[in-house]
């Protein structure tokens, strides 16, 4: 599904990713861990096509297509979803307007009719209930004045409505209390199936107690320096990242 080969990327002229290689197959859950500044968030932004993140070498294929050649919205239509570490506030545009625009354009890109307003509202209310976000949040400005946890749940809500093929979750666990973490984990686990893949970018092992990964990778200095199964995360928790940097 996703094939990243020898990816090099720069932000403001500074090399952040320096030869990252990763393959994600359908249905797999990969956790990417690493110390601050190792390039974890950069990977998510490069995959989502954020302006200012320049790829200087390497290739990324998504379902056989050159991902780096696609516009940001085309990547979304192809099924890539990035749950932001810091979701953006858009005052004056209601969450409902935003969600409907996102779902309609995504459906249209697949040759499907947009949902009528009533069906969509029903769907949005069900999803907001599933992520434990009061329906009143649908009427508020996009993420406007939401707490950290509410923003993360709103990301999950979007993910549920857009039904992406590949979900990249950038530090979704940061700033969440244990109840909110449980809600997010339940949402992700409910969405897991043999076609949909997840890349969980996280600093801490805690999230992986709730969402069990198939693979754990350690990112350091812009490259994956170790890969293993979930036991690697526990090892990291115990020994810290210093140990990895030493062996790398």
């Amino acid at each position: 599904m996703l094939k990243i080969d020898n990816l090099h990327a720069q932000v403001e002229g500074k090399d952040i990713l320096k030869g990252l290689t990763l393959e994600v197959k359908p249905g797999e859950v990969h956790a990417i861990m690493g110390p601050n500044g190792s390039g974890k968030s950069t990977l998510g932004h490069v995959l989502a096509g954020r302006p200012g993140y320049e790829v200087s070498a390497g290739t990324v294929q998504f379902e056989g297509k050159d991902l780096l050649d696609m516009e940001t919205e085309e990547r979304a239509h192809a099924g890539i979803f990035l749950a932001f570490q810091y979701p953006v506030e858009i005052p004056g545009v209601s969450n409902m307007e935003f969600l409907k625009a996102a779902v309609d354009t995504t459906r249209e890109s697949l040759g499907l009719e947009p949902l009528d307003t009533v069906s969509f509202m029903k769907l949005a209310r069900e999803a907001s209930k599933a992520v434990d976000l009061d329906a009143s949040f649908l009427k508020r400005g996009v993420n406007e004045g939401f707490s950290g946890g509410e923003k993360k749940r709103n990301e999950l809500l979007q993910m549920m409505l857009l039904e992406p093929r590949l979900c990249i979750m950038d530090e979704t666990d940061s700033g969440l209390d244990i109840d909110a973490l449980q809600v997010v984990a339940n949402g992700v686990n409910a969405m897991r199936n043999e076609h949909r893949s997840f890349v969980l970018v996280t600093h801490y092992q805690r999230l992986l107690n709730f969402i069990e990964p198939d693979y754990v990778h350690v990112l350091s200095g812009g490259r994956i320096v170790r890969s293993g199964d979930k036991s690697l995360a526990l090892e990291l928790e115990e020994k810290g990242y210093g140990w990895i940097e030493d062996v790398a």
């Binding site: 989502a48 096509g49 954020r50 302006p51 516009e71 940001t72 919205e73 990547r75 979304a76 239509h77 979803f81 990035l82 932001f84 979701p87 953006v88 858009i90 005052p91 004056g92 545009v93 307007e97 935003f98 409907k100 625009a101 996102a102 309609d104 354009t105 995504t106 890109s109 400005g141 979007q158 857009l162």
Partner: protein
């Protein structure tokens, strides 16, 4: 006297008790000369479209426009002529609404004693023209402690009659001590022959509260030069919203006089222009006494080759210690040919005050744009959504849901002619 000055004076019938007021206005108007590009207050606004002879409108003949229901009584004026009976209105105790033309002796005295009392005629020459052409007007009085909760909705529609005609709209609102009222002024019409010269005076008694919206929705060739002049007594609260869609010529002066300690004014405004439209807002907040506060936010979007002017003045007098006043003006230019002339002016003569002002001409936020695109929204639609959000933030702060719902599609359809790009808004 120049043709310009003469051309804007019209013959009209008026009650005898207004004669003194009209004569004084006529005299002042005749003494003035046409503002030019060298006149500071008119530097960026040309009065060329007014260079012709105007007539007084006669009884209008047009189908009633379909109007939204904002939850309160509604009065329709067409070309300045009231289309309904005031007597049929169901107003709460202590609230009275009188046409100048119908005022009895006591009411006439009450009106005459207040009319023009909050307008600085030396600074607002078109207020003089309004006085000179005054034939009728409305007087809303809310007695001490009385409440008008459901908003009074005043609609001023101009027809497409010929030849060019001038409507002098006048509203005098007097709130007694601790009175409350809600008011929506709503201007409609698109005829290039219609010139509205509107003056609204708001007199807020101690502890009173007024919610006031003034919707300048005239479009096309319509012209409007007007003003809202308010005087706020002790602990009164003016909650004010202004909206101007672009048209041939629009100039609105908003003057708020803080005259009693503890008064507060929230002043929000939006202007939205395209084509070759022109809108000019001049606001002036006079802090004459201590312990008053002002929060002023104006936002505008200019497209095509339109031009907007925003001049926001806050004047803190020497006695106005402990004033807090904030002014923000943000602008979005969606075309390289569009223009905004913005000038915040802070004049402070007291030392213990907290004041801030800022004016920006901004681009759409790249971070917001990217976020929308990561969710599949295409760039063109995302840009329209963000432009909409930029101004709609102020609409969403209104507490009247029917008003918000009325304005949402109006704003959306002004942003682009491509309805696909606005289909998820409003």
């Amino acid at each position: 006297m120049s043709d310009f000055i003469q051309g804007l004076l019209v013959d009209s019938e008026a009650p005898a008790w207004l004669a003194a007021h009209r004569d004084a206005g006529t005299a002042r108007w005749r003494e003035t000369s046409k503002p030019t590009g060298k006149t500071e207050a008119w530097k960026y606004t040309s009065l060329m479209p007014l260079e012709r002879d105007f007539t007084a409108p006669t009884a209008a003949d047009m189908a009633e426009p379909s109007l939204p229901d904002f939850g309160g009584a509604c009065l329709l004026f067409v070309d300045g002529q009231l289309q309904s009976e005031l007597g049929s209105l169901d107003l709460p105790d202590g609230v009275s609404l009188v046409r100048f033309a119908d005022a009895n002796e006591a009411q006439a005295e009450q009106i005459a004693s207040r009319l023009g009392s909050v307008v600085d005629a030396d600074k607002h020459l078109f207020a003089n023209l309004n006085d000179a052409n005054l034939s009728d007007g409305l007087f809303l009085h809310v007695a001490d402690n009385a409440r008008l909760e459901a908003p009074l909705h005043l609609v001023y529609q101009t027809s497409d009659r010929e030849p060019a005609f001038s409507v002098s709209q006048r509203l005098l609102v007097v709130l007694g001590n601790n009175a409350e009222a809600s008011l929506i002024e709503h201007f409609l019409g698109d005829s290039p022959a219609a010139f509205t010269n509107g003056i609204t005076e708001l007199v807020l008694g101690a502890g009173s509260r007024l919610k006031h919206s003034r919707l300048q929705l005239e479009s096309g060739g319509a012209m409007h030069i007007g003003g809202v002049h308010a005087r706020l007594e002790r602990d009164s609260h003016l909650d004010s919203f202004h909206l101007a869609l672009g048209s041939e010529l629009k100039r609105i002066d908003i003057v708020v006089n803080h005259a009693g300690a503890g008064a507060h004014c929230d002043l929000n405004g939006i202007y939205l222009l395209r084509g070759t439209e022109h809108v000019d807002y001049h606001t002036c907040i006079e802090h004459a006494v201590p312990h008053c506060t002002t929060d002023e936010v104006f936002r505008g979007i200019m497209g095509d080759s339109s031009r907007a002017v925003f001049n926001g003045r806050i004047h803190i007098h020497p006695d106005a210690q402990k004033t807090r006043a904030e002014l923000s003006n943000k602008n979005l230019l969606t075309s390289t040919d569009a223009e905004i002339n913005t000038k915040p002016e802070l004049e402070i003569y007291a030392d213990d005050v907290q004041c801030a002002h800022g004016a920006t001409v901004a681009q759409l936020d790249e971070g917001m744009l990217h976020y929308l695109r990561t969710r599949g929204v295409e760039r063109a639609e995302a840009e329209v959504m963000l432009s909409y959000g930029f101004i709609n933030e102020l609409v969403d702060a209104l507490d009247n849901e029917a008003l918000r719902e009325y304005l949402h599609p109006l704003l959306a359809e002004r942003l682009t002619r491509d309805t696909r790009l606005t289909r998820h808004l409003a």
